[in-house]
């Protein structure tokens, strides 16, 4: 039996802050146009640190060109290629030399898009399962692309019920004795926690982790940082492993998404540790089978509302929170009302003892 709940992280203090003072009506949420949402004043993960070297590599955020290279070992993010004969105007997102604010953390290169003067490491999303200085082996990382808008990919991630259909071969039949879904949100994040008691063991786990029992208890968390379009997907399986995944959906354009994935499988068995990050390739192809045709259908406004069920609560909350933030930005309010760099170990239920850095 499924139980669902949806609540602000801090229900009492400054309640208006979490809704931005203008609650978005359900009707609007069900007709949202994610293609039109552009988030600024945010750190976006653009590359694994090892992909940036002396030779410039090209990235984009909302089609703004970004060239990344290292100068004496320090990452540089420029809107111009060093060999470019500059024939276009500098954007407002960079300094006098055309450079974006850039930082390296968690083994990932982050670029700030927005007002460069507002860039502040305090606005970097908390990812407490990744070593702050990076250094995880490369087989725990991957790059995946989606031909859909980043919010569509994130909505797919926070949506539970598609797994039975798209990923049945990976996750199994999704049967369990009881299931609880809770959603927590503030002005910058949406977190969904799903708890299943005695769930059938996923085929991948049976095979690669050698789980002999027929069922396991599962706690799955999806936490989305709205502005950066970054997500944490954290599964705790008992018996089984703890597999936290960094699942960013960087909007390289408004309808093409790049995912510089990091799965910290350091605590898992040897087989699982190597194989699981690769499952991302398969799972993402399965997802894009639906998200690719979906995405163009969300590019224009329509009067027809999407239908939903109680399983969509977290997804609805995600849409609402995104629209509220976008509405605030449209009015020129780029302030962070909640701190995204606060350690989120507790809210995602991270077993800290396994992730000491």
């Amino acid at each position: 039996m499924l139980e669902v709940a949806d609540r602000p992280v801090s229900p009492d203090d400054n309640a208006p802050a979490s809704t931005g003072g203008s609650p978005i009506a359900m009707n609007v949420v069900n007709r949202w146009v994610p293609h039109n949402i552009v988030m600024l004043d945010s750190w976006f993960p653009v590359a694994h640190d090892y992909s940036v070297s002396g030779k410039p590599v090209r990235r984009a955020i909302y089609s703004h060109p970004i060239f990344l290279w290292r100068d004496n070992g320090v990452a540089v993010a420029s809107e111009f290629h060093p060999n470019e004969r500059i024939a276009r105007d500098k954007s407002a997102h960079t300094d006098a030399r055309g450079r974006y604010p850039v930082m390296e953390h968690y083994g990932v290169v982050w670029v700030w898009l927005g007002n460069p003067l507002a860039a502040d490491p305090r606005h970097l999303p908390s990812l407490p399962f990744l070593p702050p200085q990076g250094g995880l082996p490369r087989h725990m990382t991957a790059t995946v692309r989606f031909e859909s808008s980043a919010p569509i990919s994130l909505e797919n991630l926070i949506d539970l019920t598609h797994a039975d259909f798209l990923h049945a071969d990976v996750v199994g039949d999704e049967r369990s004795d009881s299931e609880t879904v809770e959603t927590y949100y503030d002005s910058e994040t949406v977190t969904m926690v799903r708890t299943c008691v005695n769930k059938s063991v996923a085929p991948v786990m049976k095979f690669f982790s050698g789980i002999k029992q027929p069922t396991q208890n599962v706690r799955q968390v999806i936490r989305i940082y709205l502005r950066s379009h970054c997500a944490i997907a954290y599964g705790r399986f008992s018996p089984g492993d703890d597999v936290p995944l960094f699942h960013p959906c960087t909007p390289e354009t408004r309808d093409r998404t790049r995912m510089e994935m990091v799965m910290n499988t350091s605590n898992a068995g040897r087989m699982f540790r190597h194989v699981m990050p690769k499952a991302g390739y398969k799972v993402s192809r399965q997802d894009s089978y639906m998200t690719s045709p979906q995405s163009p259908r969300y590019m224009r406004h329509t009067d027809r509302k999407d239908l939903h069920s109680k399983f969509d609560q977290a997804g609805q909350r995600y849409r609402m929170a995104m629209m509220e933030l976008a509405e605030r930005q449209a009015k020129g309010d780029f302030a962070y009302r909640d701190n995204v760099s606060d350690d989120c170990s507790e809210i995602i239920g991270l077993r800290k003892e396994l992730f000491q850095f």
Binding site: H162, P293, R297, Y298, L307, F311
Partner: protein, 312 residues
């Protein structure tokens, strides 16, 4: 393109619509999913799940005849489009009436599945002839241009083995019983004389086209008025200016001699999947120019033009 909503479009051949796998087709820019339910009835819904807009044609047909979306497994009834089931929601399986996908009218006759965007429209009646040869092609050419090509030079879009279409008409495009009708002289291949110097033509190709849908009956006749070949060609405007063409053909009377034998071998009719662009752009609009005017007049006088009865 905007299309009249009460037209019946032959969007599929009967055998293309199964319970194995949903079929995706279009009527203009409207995507449509077709399948056959557990009673064998062909069904048509908008190819867009009202939950998260995934194409229903990526889903599957269940044993109970419902179509199931492949994304989250919502199941819909084909007749009404109503949502019947959400997986893992055994406690609530009654949904408010707005929980539905758009349903379209479906009618299946003479080997074609016809769909009307207006679910309340009355289905046309048609004869039920037997057709041995069938096919489907998607031609990247607009619906009107496709018909114009058929009128101006059938060789741009079809071929009949052993037969050559002459540029000489026996009857120009005219109205007959609400249809656009014309007749073109044809010769056997290879030629003895170029058509300009021939006193009598041995064959004619008669075409009867519905002015709105462009569905066309083709009849190849010899000079003794024997029907040698009969075919139905159904061009349907589809996404991105493509025209989807379904066709069925049947041999008629046997023409004596070697030529008749050649025609009667394996399927004599080919409906071409591509149009030669350089030929198309230099083909003079000899029939179609007048045809467009005529068609416009007929569509302005709805009493004669809207009759879709197949007088096969």
């Amino acid at each position: 393109m905007s299309l009249a909503t009460d037209l019946w479009w032959a969007v599929a051949r009967s055998e293309e619509v199964t319970s194995k796998k949903p079929l995706s087709v279009d009527i203009g820019d409207q995507p449509v999913v077709l399948w056959r339910d557990n009673q064998g009835i062909a069904r048509a819904l908008e190819d867009r799940c009202p939950h998260r807009r995934a194409p229903l044609s990526l889903g599957c047909v269940r044993d109970n005849g419902l179509i199931q979306c492949g994304y989250h497994g919502w199941s819909y009834d084909g007749e009404t489009g109503r949502l019947k089931e959400i997986p893992n929601m055994k406690d609530q399986q009654k949904f408010p009436p707005i929980y539905k996908a758009n349903a379209f009218g479906v009618s299946e006759q003479a080997g074609f599945v016809r769909v009307c965007l207006n679910p309340k429209a009355e289905a046309p009646l048609s004869a039920d002839p037997k057709y041995t040869y069938v096919g489907t092609v998607n031609v990247s050419c607009s619906h009107q241009e496709y018909l114009n090509a058929l009128y101006d030079d059938p060789a741009l879009v079809i071929a009949i083995r052993g037969v050559r279409f002459s540029p000489y008409l026996m009857a120009e495009l005219h109205e007959e019983g609400g249809m656009l009708v014309m007749e073109r002289n044809c010769q056997w291949n290879p030629l003895h004389w170029p058509s300009h110097f021939v006193a009598e033509f041995p064959l004619t190709l008669l075409t009867r086209t519905h002015p709105s849908t462009g569905e066309t009956q083709l009849t190849l006749r010899d000079d003794q008025f024997n029907d040698l070949l009969h075919a139905v060609l159904s061009p349907v405007p589809s996404a991105r200016g493509v025209t989807a063409v379904r066709w069925r053909a049947e041999m008629g009377v046997r023409h004596p001699g070697v030529r008749g034998a050649i025609l009667r071998g394996i399927n004599p009719l080919s409906v071409l999947a591509t149009i030669d662009g350089s030929k198309l752009r230099t083909t003079k609009p000899t029939v179609s120019l007048h045809g467009e005017d005529l068609r416009a007049t007929m569509l302005d006088a709805p009493h004669s033009a809207q009759d879709q009865t197949q007088a096969a």
